[in-house]
Structure formats: structure tokens, C-alpha cells
């Protein structure tokens, strides 16, 4: 009998499994699909500290950033400590941006208008300046999830971390009031604890245990260009508007392009945000807006082609914070979901903190802001 069953083989589940196995626990990861087949497989691989307001999420992001750098030694998932450049359209925006950077207390360099070209030679002219965040990084998220599971299994013993794909969880096993495993379409799995790392579908998993965790989908489209032989864009580059959009409560469409090159060659143009449920229908106007904003940032992109677009469903909670920790309403059930568009970046810290609570240690961060029952009082 394993100590832990992790539901979800996305990047968050993979990190939970990796750190739990490292802590000496026997772990089974189950996923109804393949590894990284959900939101992880539809992301950009953002590991950002620059877009977070000071507070619990930034604390989580900073912890995670350091852990990603350690994990990068595992190799195999294209970790790039490339840094992020946030550019401001006007002096007023630059002032706000600089003010935020000061409050964040993260490493940054304020870049005057004339210095932007040193960072990004192909950037359009006319920006008032920007802020460079050296800690912003990127990973190939699918490979990251797969690698964490594989290396966890290799390093800590194969029996200790086992991946079971194509296994759908149908319900929970109980030992009195305690959650003591899962029932699946491939038989029951008894375990000391269960981690809900089902991402956008985390609310449904919680409901099977009879608890309410409000995780909802927010659709995001990403445009992918033809591959480039030589990098056109060196860092993650985005406008200050991205920072305000990330935390937005708007129901409607918001786009603010994040543009970046990848080791495989294509440029990714990301980050539309819409609340339309699980609707995959292509929205040409969204693609048009992303293209417009990308070309405004990098006019040289106008002559290059988009060859692909994909969408994913970012799991968000009403207060835009993830749910991390054991559920007092269902002891033995730990949640690790609802990371919205930041799941890749926040995965290692989430996994690390979950492993600490599973092992009975005091977590490095106060989990109160992320506690699963925080939505009860608002209902």
C-alpha cells in the first residue's frame, strides 16, 4: 500500500510526487490520460516572479523559483533562466511598474527607454522604458512533468514512485472520517493520503470527496510561429498590461501578449484570458488580437507566420490563489490545484509544501492563505 496517491500527472502532481518520494514516501500517481495531458500540455512554461503582486502568491513564486533552479540539474526539460522584460507604454505606466518592482522586493533592473534595445534588439521603438526581472525563467512544461516523475522514480526507487496513466478515479475510500485511498476504473488503491492535483478538474475531484473547492476554467489561447533558425527574442517580453490582466476579475476577453522564443525554434505568443467554460471553439478575434499585440512589440514578426494555435483551460479560484494543503473537512485529502496560469511556475513549491505536510513537517510557508476551506465563509 502506497503512502500517497496523487491524482493528476500534470506538472503540479508530478512535483507533489517527486517531493513526496524524496521525503521517503511511497507514491502512486494516477491520471485518466497521459502524463501532462491537461493544462500542463497547453501552457507556455512560464516561471515568473515579475507578474505577482506582493503577498502569498509572490512568496510561493519566489520559493518555487529557487526550487526550479535546483531541479534544473535533473536536465531534460529545457530550463532557461532567460529573464523577463516588462515594457511600459507611457511614463506613467513605467512609474507604476517601477513602484511595483520596488514593493515586490525581487531582483530587478529598471531599464530606461534607450536601454531597451540592449535587452531586445528587435523591440519596437517608442516604449517609455521597462523593468528587467532576471529570475523569470521558462521550462518545457510537458517534459518537466514527465521528467520529475521519471527522475523521482529513478532516484528514489521505482517502487517508490509509480506512474499509472489511463486510470480514472471514480471515488474515494474512507477509513472512518479519513480519506484512505481512491476507487478507479482499474480497481481500488488504498493509501495513507490522497493528493488532489487534478488542475482544472480539481473541483470535480473534491466534489467526489463531498467537499467544495471552487476551481473554474479560464480559457487561454497561444499562437505559435514558424520555427526560427536564430533567436529573434531573447527574454520573456510583455507589456505592463499583462500584470494587471493576470489578476483581473473581468468575465470578458482580455489579451496582453507575452512573447518569447523557445529552444525548439518557434516564438510563442501567449495569454488571452476568457471565461467561457470548457469551450474549445477557435476564436479568430482572439488570435487577431494576440497577433496585433505581438507585432506591436516586435514589428519584425509581421513578416513571419503563425502556424499553430492551441488553447488550454487555466484553473482559477475566485480569489486567484491556489488551494494547497490538507482539507479539514476530509482529513487525508490534500489539495494542490487552482494555480490558474501560474501552475508551471508554482509547481515545485506546491509539491515541496505538500510533501512537508504529508511527512508531518511544518511547511516552509504559512499555508493559511491557500487553505481549502477558505471559500466556506463566503458561500
Amino acid at each position: 500500500m502506497p503512502d500517497v496517491v496523487v491524482i493528476g500527472a500534470g506538472v503540479v502532481g508530478a512535483a507533489c510526487a517527486y517531493y513526496a518520494a524524496r521525503a521517503g514516501l511511497d507514491v502512486v500517481v494516477v491520471d485518466r490520460g497521459p502524463v501532462a495531458g491537461g493544462t500542463t500540455g497547453a501552457g507556455e512554461g512560464n516561471v515568473l516572479v515579475s507578474d505577482k503582486e506582493p503577498g502569498p502568491e509572490l512568496d510561493l513564486a519566489l520559493l518555487s523559483n529557487g526550487l526550479w533552479r535546483e531541479l534544473a540539474e535533473l536536465d531534460g526539460f529545457e530550463f532557461e533562466a532567460k529573464g523577463g522584460l516588462v515594457v511600459a507604454e507611457t511614463g506613467e505606466v513605467l512609474e507604476a511598474l517601477t513602484g511595483l518592482a520596488g514593493k515586490q522586493g525581487v531582483e530587478h533592473t529598471v531599464v530606461p527607454s534607450g536601454g531597451l534595445g540592449d535587452y531586445e534588439p528587435h523591440l519596437a521603438g517608442g516604449f517609455a522604458g521597462g523593468v528587467f526581472y532576471p529570475q523569470d525563467a521558462q521550462v518545457q512544461p510537458m517534459l518537466a512533468a514527465a521528467t520529475l516523475i521519471r527522475r523521482g522514480a529513478d532516484r528514489f526507487g521505482r517502487g517508490t514512485l509509480m506512474l499509472r496513466t489511463g486510470v480514472t478515479v471514480a471515488g474515494f475510500l474512507r477509513d472512518g472520517d479519513r480519506i484512505g485511498g481512491v476507487t478507479t476504473d482499474h480497481g481500488d488503491i488504498l493509501a495513507g493520503a490522497v493528493v488532489n492535483a487534478a488542475g482544472t478538474w480539481g473541483g470535480e475531484v473534491a466534489a467526489m470527496a463531498g467537499v467544495h473547492v471552487p476551481v473554474l476554467p479560464r480559457r487561454g489561447f497561444i499562437l505559435v510561429t514558424e520555427p526560427f533558425d536564430e533567436p529573434l527574442i531573447r527574454h520573456k517580453v510583455y507589456t505592463a498590461a499583462y500584470v494587471t490582466n493576470v489578476a483581473s476579475d473581468s468575465e470578458g476577453l482580455e489579451t496582453s501578449a507575452v512573447v518569447e522564443g523557445t529552444p525548439s525554434g518557434p516564438v510563442l505568443i501567449g495569454a488571452s484570458r476568457e471565461r467561457v467554460g470548457f469551450d474549445r471553439t477557435v476564436s479568430v478575434p482572439v488570435l487577431e488580437r494576440l497577433a496585433r499585440q505581438a507585432v506591436e512589440l516586435f514589428p519584425a514578426l509581421a513578416d513571419r507566420r503563425a502556424i499553430r494555435a492551441y488553447c488550454g483551460f487555466r484553473p482559477y479560484c475566485p480569489d486567484h490563489l491556489p488551494v494547497i494543503g490538507e482539507d479539514p473537512r476530509a482529513p487525508g485529502l490534500h489539495h494542490a490545484c487552482g494555480h490558474e496560469g501560474a501552475g508551471i511556475g508554482l509547481a515545485p513549491a506546491t509539491g515541496h509544501l505538500i510533501a512537508q505536510t504529508l511527512a508531518g513537517h511544518r511547511p516552509d510557508l504559512d499555508l493559511t492563505p491557500f487553505r481549502p476551506d477558505r471559500f466556506e465563509e463566503r458561500r
Binding site: 500527472a9 490520460g33 497521459p34 502524463v35 501532462a36 495531458g37 500540455g41 510537458m142 517534459l143 514527465a146 521528467t147 516523475i149 521519471r150 506512474l163 496513466t165 489511463g166 499562437l223 510561429t225 514558424e226 520555427p227 525548439s264 518557434p266 505568443i269 474549445r280 471553439t281 477557435v282 479568430v284 488570435l287 487577431e288 497577433a291 496585433r292 505581438a294 507585432v295 514578426l301 509581421a302 513578416d303 513571419r304 507566420r305 503563425a306 502556424i307 499553430r308 494555435a309 492551441y310
Partner: protein, 457 residues
């Protein structure tokens, strides 16, 4: 040009032209759109004017009939050639077709219509094998396009290989045009279909004609043989031909010198547009996804019809019949009086049964996977070798999509059009209907610009 047509037809091959003409005769305002500068699709691909060909029919079976329909259609409907469709959308009963006009300028254009007939045909289905990306290795359809569309003979010493009856006209055409065709290697049984009673459906004569042509040029036609490797430094110089067992495992091999290989293992229907619209698909007799249609060629999306290879690979004659049925359905659904024509439906049923028999007689057998080596590229664009696919599976990829996410086959320029079938086979599943929100690459500058209708300059 009109702000709103009754019916937009995408594809100027036999299905699209017949469908557009039928709908036009039934009283609809029709616009026909095709990416190519000339009509015909792949099968009736036309030569450029510049050749002043006095006998273009020598390259095609049944060209005259198609040409008559085309000339009639041109006088009755609007025709937009050289328009690549990159996206279609449907909202409130109106279909918006987004095109790029011109082969290099690519001006964005939009066309709107109440109904849409998708007749986008198919492309070759290549299988990967060692050396398949050497210059000089072409798809059978590519060799055919060079000849029919450009009067260029694909090579001097040519080998034709793969499976299916399409290999015969390709080889015969090359031989007639002066190539030294060193052999036609059919991986299935050479006589696989001859015993089938449906061969009486009218194809026998055509097949006999190609056979006679090959015999006249002393071209050997061998069943249970395949090209399993291509060799050369920088360009093709010879191929390894294997005799196969019934599962396509090589039994014995020999070398054939050639500068060109034209090959194909069936066809892949082009489904990106119906998938964009949410049309339901089904697996055809060979496992390929095709659009699900009713007896009137209606898809699951109201006002959207499909005809020709997109409903199942069946050739030009079936495509034309389906186009006519779809055109009639579109007119009837928009309230035009269209008398029933059961004869047409019976003809379609007969031809479709024949097409299904063909797919069953010329399947792709699993033994081809044994032709690959660890370093054989599965994906040409992203240069993904077989070993990388296997590593992805080892990492937890249990389907084609997750193999793609981890190892990148299908992520490049062609978006899996060339390797999608092979990757699905390697992942142990039938190929899925392609989800490609961008059906043709589009410059970001064009995507960013407000699009114009063809009404505007």
C-alpha cells in the same frame, strides 16, 4: 462579389465543381474558392496556359466532362482561385471563410455565406522509412503534380512504390512521359481486387489501360514488394526493395538503382476546416478520420456539407456524385424546389461500396514499423527520430497527442500532415481528427490587420 452568398464551396476539384454547379442550377448564389491558381484539384490538375497544350486530356481520365462543368460554372457563379482558406467560422447561420489571396502576397480576404460545402480533397499518406527525407524521394501525388501541373517528369530512373490503385496511373503517366520506370512495388497483393465483384463498377477498363501502358513500357509491377530504405549522399541514388510477407515483414531484399522514388500508402482526407466548425467525424474503413455525413451529405453542423475525399477516400467519380448530392441538399435546405433523384443516391452507394472494398483490399499492414531504425526520422519537420518517440512513450506518453507534446512529432511546419498517421500507428491508435485552428500558415502582420472582403480592392 456579393456581401452574402447562399453557398460557399471550398475546393475546385470534381466534388466542389459539381456541387457548386448543381447548387447554382438549383437557384443558389454560389461562390467557389480554391487555393490553386487553376481548377481541377489534385486529380484534374490543369496545365498553365503557357504550355498551350492541344491535348491536355492525355494526362487525365475524364477531363472533358470536368472541363465542361467548369466552363459552365464560371459563367454562373463567382470563382475565387488562388485563395487559401486558413479558417472558417459559423455564427448565427452565417459562415465566414477567411482566405489569403495570392501565392506570395497573401492578402487577407473574407467571404460570407449562408451555407458551406467542404470539398477539400486529400493528400498522400506517406509512411516513414530510412532515407525517406532524401531529395529525390517524392510522394506519388507530388510526382503526379509535377507532370500534370508543370509538365516536369519527376526523374529519369524512377521507382514507384506503396499501396493502392493510384500507383498505376502515376507509373503509367511517368512512363508515357519518358521516364525509365524501374518498377512498381505494391505492398499488398497485386491482384487484391481483381476478384472483387465490384470491380465491375467501371474501373476495370481504366485499370486495364494503365496495365497495358506499363506492359508496353516493360515496367515490372510486383505485389508484396516495398521500398524499405532509400540511399544516397545528399540525393537519392538507389533504394532497397524487399519482398514482404503478409504482415509486411521483409523476407528478402535487393537494390534498385534510381534517382527518384514516387510513393504513397493511400490518402489522408483534409479535415481541418470541418473540425474547426465542430463537424462530427468517424473512422473510415482504414481507420482514417472522415466527416460524418447523412444521405444528403449534410454534416452534423447545420448548413455545412461535405463531399468527396473528406467524407471517405473514393476517387473522382464518387466525388463528383457526392458534390451533386450536396449541392442539391444545400439548395433544398434553403427552400429551393429540388425534386428527389434516387438514382444519384444509388449511384453513390454503389461507388462508396467500391471505395470501401478498395480500402479493405489495400490496407497498411503493421510490418512497416519494422522497417524503421532508431535513427529513422518519423517527423521530417522537427527531425524526430524513432528513438525519441520511444523515449516519450517510456516517459508516460500513452497516445499520439502526448507523444507529440513530449517529443515534438507534428509540431513543425506541416503540423503532422506528413507524420500524423505514422505517429498514431506507433502510439497504437487510429489517427485522430486534426485540430488545426490555423489551416494555412498566416503572416502575423496579416492576422493582425483587419481583414477585407473580396469586394474591396
Amino acid at each position: 462579389m456579393k456581401p452574402l452568398y447562399d453557398l460557399a464551396v471550398i475546393g475546385a476539384g470534381p466534388a466542389g465543381v459539381a456541387g457548386a454547379l448543381t447548387a447554382s442550377f438549383a437557384g443558389l448564389d454560389v461562390v467557389l474558392i480554391d487555393a490553386a491558381p487553376r481548377p481541377g484539384g489534385q486529380y484534374f490538375r490543369h496545365l498553365p496556359q503557357g504550355f498551350n497544350a492541344q491535348a491536355p486530356g492525355a494526362l487525365h481520365h475524364g477531363l472533358d466532362g470536368f472541363t465542361r462543368q467548369w466552363e459552365t460554372l464560371r459563367a454562373r457563379a463567382d470563382v475565387l482561385l488562388g485563395h487559401k482558406v486558413w479558417a472558417v467560422e459559423r455564427a448565427e447561420g452565417t459562415v465566414t471563410v477567411r482566405c489569403l489571396e495570392g501565392d506570395r502576397e497573401e492578402r487577407p480576404r473574407t467571404v460570407t455565406a449562408r451555407g458551406l460545402l467542404i470539398a477539400t480533397g486529400a493528400h498522400d499518406r506517406p509512411l516513414p522509412f530510412p532515407g525517406w527525407d532524401l531529395p529525390g524521394v517524392l510522394t506519388a501525388g507530388g510526382a503526379q503534380a509535377l507532370l500534370k501541373g508543370n509538365l516536369v517528369v519527376a526523374g529519369r530512373k524512377v521507382v514507384v512504390a506503396g499501396t493502392g490503385p493510384f500507383l498505376l496511373p502515376v507509373a503509367a503517366g511517368l512512363a508515357e512521359a519518358g521516364a525509365d520506370v524501374r518498377g512498381v512495388y505494391e505492398a499488398n497483393g497485386r491482384l487484391g481486387l481483381a476478384r472483387h465483384p465490384l470491380l465491375a463498377a467501371g474501373k476495370a477498363g481504366e485499370a486495364l489501360g494503365y496495365g497495358a501502358s506499363l506492359a508496353r513500357h516493360r515496367v515490372p509491377y510486383r505485389g508484396r514488394h516495398a521500398v524499405i530504405a532509400a540511399h544516397g549522399e545528399g540525393a537519392l541514388t538507389h533504394v532497397t526493395v524487399a519482398r514482404l510477407d503478409s504482415a509486411w515483414r521483409p523476407v528478402s531484399t535487393r537494390t534498385v538503382e534510381c534517382d527518384t522514388l514516387a510513393y504513397g500508402y493511400g490518402f489522408v482526407p483534409q479535415l481541418e476546416l470541418p473540425v474547426q466548425l465542430g463537424c462530427a467525424t468517424r473512422a473510415d474503413a482504414d481507420g482514417s478520420p472522415v466527416v460524418t455525413v447523412d444521405g444528403g451529405l449534410r454534416t452534423s453542423v447545420p448548413g455545412v456539407y461535405a463531399a468527396g475525399e473528406s467524407t471517405g477516400v473514393g476517387g473522382a467519380v464518387l466525388a463528383e456524385v457526392e458534390g451533386r448530392i450536396a449541392g442539391r441538399s444545400a439548395a433544398a435546405d434553403l427552400g429551393r424546389r429540388v425534386p428527389p433523384l434516387p438514382r444519384l443516391s444509388r449511384r453513390r452507394d454503389r461507388l462508396a461500396a467500391f471505395a470501401k472494398a478498395l480500402l479493405e483490399a489495400y490496407p497498411v499492414r503493421p510490418g512497416w514499423q519494422g522497417w524503421l531504425r532508431d535513427d529513422t526520422l518519423v517527423c521530417r519537420c522537427e527531425e524526430v527520430p524513432l528513438s525519441a518517440v520511444r523515449e516519450a512513450q517510456d516517459l508516460g506518453a500513452i497516445d499520439a497527442r502526448s507523444v507529440k507534446l513530449l517529443a515534438r512529432p507534428g509540431m513543425g511546419w506541416c503540423q503532422g500532415r506528413m507524420c500524423g498517421y505514422a505517429v498514431a500507428c506507433l502510439a497504437g491508435e487510429d489517427p485522430a481528427a486534426p485540430r488545426r485552428p490555423i489551416a494555412q500558415p498566416i503572416r502575423l502582420g496579416d492576422l493582425a490587420a483587419p481583414t477585407r472582403s473580396p469586394l474591396e480592392g
